[in-house]
């Protein structure tokens, strides 16, 4: 029998649990709204390295090793590492995996990588292919800026619809234990493109993908938005989250106060980030700190995490293509039913 509901949703019968998590962010994010929730805030985002790419890799490695110790397990018990980032050929993840010596899958889902890695990891644990898996991702402002936009010292103005790439990493360890937060189900998104080509307005480009995945999730599972205490999107930003609510209402789903967006909440208003944060690290760092800690306290019981990713490159943009986007949804719940053995 297939462990699926509807067209796109996977159901994890054995309930993989979140056994450990860690987040590390840069100084600007530390001064933002979630500063006190992150496990570690760096004072210098170069992190003692010679380049921002090396710093990104070191931060990711730190997040993974600290998450493993948070889970109180041995590195050898981690049977697979699922990681990805924004750099070309996902160098940050692969270089971090090189020094860790853990079986490794490199993933690319742009900013949706946190959800993508959680889904892949949950499948492995649920299917009995791994005792523990590490699901990690992150991004770095300075290396992303260099790869996707302009040199840091170029004197240009950022457009008002732009978002700020988050310097932050997050890692979740999933395992087959009896208590804690469990991954209940996940909805795999399709690539959606509604013709937005403005790279300074990624939120708007990713909204149709998020809507598509949310719709599929609610159709497949028969749940409604009200069944969740928190519906959290990855990095749609201020404009994107307004558009998402409009699109969902247009599709007949009224989402109320239980909706939030990591990008919109990451920075405070004095930090001049316009529409808020973006990047893999945006959702990853908030999920692995704030969301899990509130769930562990019992303040949140059912959380739907929808990470959205814009799947373009500088080459595709320069060749005039619009921005294809994807969104994956992961449903977390606290307690839930006892594990089927």
């Amino acid at each position: 029998m297939l462990n699926r509901l509807g067209n796109q949703t996977l159901v994890f019968k054995n309930k993989p649990r979140v056994v450990g998590s860690y987040s590390v962010v840069g100084p600007k994010e530390g001064k933002g709204n979630f500063g006190k929730f992150f496990h570690k805030v760096l004072e210098d985002d170069l992190f003692g390295e010679k380049s921002y790419e090396a710093a990104e890799s070191k931060m990711l490695k730190l997040a993974i090793t600290e998450a493993i110790s948070d889970a109180r397990i041995n590195k050898d018990e981690v049977d697979a590492l699922f990681a990805g980032d924004l750099m070309n050929q996902i160098i940050s993840s692969s270089f971090a995996a090189k020094t860790l010596g853990v079986p490794y899958f490199g993933l690319f889902g742009a900013c949706s990588t946190m959800a993508e890695s959680l889904i892949m990891g949950a499948c492995h644990v649920d299917g009995g292919f791994a005792r523990y898996v590490a699901c990690a991702t992150g991004s770095h402002f300075s290396s992303a800026e260099k790869q996707f936009r302009y040199p840091l010292e170029l004197g240009t103005q950022r457009p008002p619809s732009s978002q700020w790439t988050v310097t932050g990493m997050g890692c979740t360890i999933l395992g087959n234990t009896n208590t804690g937060i469990c991954v209940e189900s996940a909805t795999i998104g399709k690539v959606v493109d509604w013709g937005v080509s403005d790279v300074n307005n990624m939120g708007a480009a990713m909204c149709p993908a998020a809507t598509d995945t949310l719709k599929a999730h609610f159709y497949d599972t028969g749940k409604t938005p009200d069944d969740y205490d928190l519906i959290l999107t990855g990095d749609l930003g201020k404009l994107g989250s307004e558009i998402l609510l409009d699109l969902m209402e247009y599709n007949g789903f009224k989402i109320g106060n239980n909706y939030s967006d990591c990008g919109q909440m990451m920075y405070n208003n004095t930090q001049k980030t316009f529409m808020g944060g973006s990047g893999c690290g945006c959702g990853a760092s908030i999920l692995n700190s704030y969301v899990y800690s509130r769930m562990r306290k019992g303040e949140l019981k059912n959380v739907l995490f929808v990470a959205t990713g814009a799947l373009m490159s500088t080459t595709s943009s320069q060749q005039g293509n619009s921005i294809p986007s994807i969104a994956h949804a992961v449903s977390f719940s606290l307690g839930g039913k006892e594990r089927n053995v």
Binding site: Y52, P151, L152, G155, T156
Partner: protein
Amino acid sequence: MFDPIMYLKVFAIGGLVCMIGQILIITTKMTSARILVSFLLFGVVLEAFGWFEPIRDFAGAGISVPIIGFGASLARGAIDAGNVTGLLGVFTGGLTTVAGGLAAAIFAGYVFGLIFSSRTKK
């Protein structure tokens, strides 16, 4: 020299040129490379029609400091050298007149690039 009226004209015309650039950025979402290219071309056109000279006599650095002046010098050089040495001058003239600025920019970029590194934005 040190004529206050002249400085007023420099400020007004120079400011106006930059303001036109800003209007272009806001309305067309042009990137800085495109802004530089279009103003440079505008300077070449001004010089080609002989309109740059009178504007510079009026506004001085107000028109020669913007990249328009760089374009005008390129065109002026090609035209003048072409008159003197013919076809060869057309090719050598343009870069000769702007060689100072170009070399300074490359030299300064190289030296400062060796000494300093970019730092993250706050």
